[in-house]
Amino acid sequence: MKAINLDYSAATPVDEAVLQEMLPYFTEHYGNPSSGHTLGEKPREALEEARSKVGRLIGAEEPGKNQIIFTASSSEANNLAVKGIIAAGKKKGNQIITSAIEHFSILNQLKGLEKEGYEIIRLPVDKYGLIAPGLLEEAISDQTILISIQAANPEIGTIQPIDELAALARKNEIPFHTDAAAAAGGIALDVDRMGVDMLSLAGDQFYGPKGSGALFVRRGVRLRPLIEGGIQEKGLRAGTENVPAIVGLGEAARLAYETLEERAEKVAYFRDQLKESLFNEIPHLHLNGHPEKRLPRNLNISVEFVEGEALLMRLNMAGIYVSSGSSCTSQALKSSHVLEAIGLPPELAQGSLLLAPDRENRIEDIPYITEQMAQVAGLLRNMSPLYHQYLKEEKKNANLQ
């Protein structure tokens, strides 16, 4: 049977070269980087090499100037950034600014902080998911202690004007954090050009292992650790380092950096061809997110009149793997907060599909994907009360004319 993955934003496979780099650190070089003897040497070196590879991916190579703190995920990096800066308490105030479409690892911890008395401002986005810098400027006050806005949205792919937003933060001397989990490895990032003080990323988004992540911290930004203990990671994350995962993250970052343009072009081309094919063959589709300012690995569409879980299940039966932002697919039975924030009507959010292709996808598969999608959409529409209602209205309108 066919197996076409269009859900690479959920996970990418570990690149073969990455795996080969990692393997010796499970066995041969198993030593503890903190050891004073010979066994600690190789792992210690490997950590620093990985650090500079990750630094290079985001334009933060200069050692000493900046810090890369290894974590187990971008969720952890996001928590370290937000909770860490608040606990450090360098800047006085009680207001944090974010956007309405952040990842849950930002939104949920801010909900908690709100209960503790912090004022959380969630900037709205336009219908494409973009944040207007003017809104941030208005929201900033002398009480603002942190601004956290994602570099790109994992669900609708919209890329934010981080440089403009961060410039406003800098002007007001407010630390700026960006969650770049969806962006890192997919588009070119440079912490200096973006002007950010902290940046989170995750290795499993670009062919590194799961359980690998990092937080970039600009020099001068003070954090308190979430995990206290030994002085690993400059005291910002206690616990013996997961050396194989970190080595894997570093190698994945190197590969991503060296092949970035080529891969982005290839993926965007596939994405555009797929989009064209689907929109040509299937009526009543709706594009979600920005037409241009979007991640190469992102096509988000709504299939009108049908529900996403049913679509997903049918496509799964055809060997095509996708995800959906419909309420029925979510554990909490709530439709995606991102789709709600861009003002998508609930019926359209119900029919939303996220197609996230990557370098493995082949142009030759597009006809099969299109054919299956058309068939599945047709089948589900045929049993949809909304579709039949639409057909009736169409008929009425035609008769009136």
Binding site: E307, N316, S326, S327, L333, Q350, P385
Partner: protein, 129 residues
């Protein structure tokens, strides 16, 4: 995607009785307050029995399987019997539903009962449910 029973998958893959009966005697439309989905049942009644029953469903895999199962359970039953079909029975017949999908089974029986009551009202009868 939750783990569904074989029976659910079977009905989802081959849903029975999709559509709208012609000149329906009763129509029942319900919306799901939990997730925003919809079902529409139409029935044809003869000698107090459900002679034909069809439906349209806008909803998840469970909701589609539920409507298919309800249509099978209701067909040929007397109105009295059909009114006694409970959400729980529907879920049981389907070999169980995942916890957060139980609410989808409400939709099916509710829509069917609404169609029956619609018929009874049109006949000037009271349903004693």
């Amino acid at each position: 995607m939750p783990t569904y029973s074989d029976k659910v998958m079977e009905h989802f893959t081959n849903p029975r009785n999709i559509g709208e009966v012609e000149d329906a005697d009763g129509i029942g439309e319900v919306g799901n307050p939990v997730c925003g989905d919809m079902m529409k049942f139409t029935i044809k009644v003869k000698d107090d029995r459900i002679e034909d029953v069809k439906y349209f469903t806008f909803g998840c895999g469970a909701a589609i399987a539920v409507s298919s199962m309800v249509s099978e359970m209701a067909r040929g039953k007397t109105l009295e019997e059909a009114l006694k079909i409970t959400n729980k029975q529907v879920a049981e017949e389907l070999g169980g539903l995942p916890g957060n999908k139980m609410h989808c089974s409400n939709l099916g029986a509710d829509a069917l009962h609404k169609a029956i009551r619609d018929y009874m009202e049109k006949q000037g009868r009271e349903s004693n449910e």
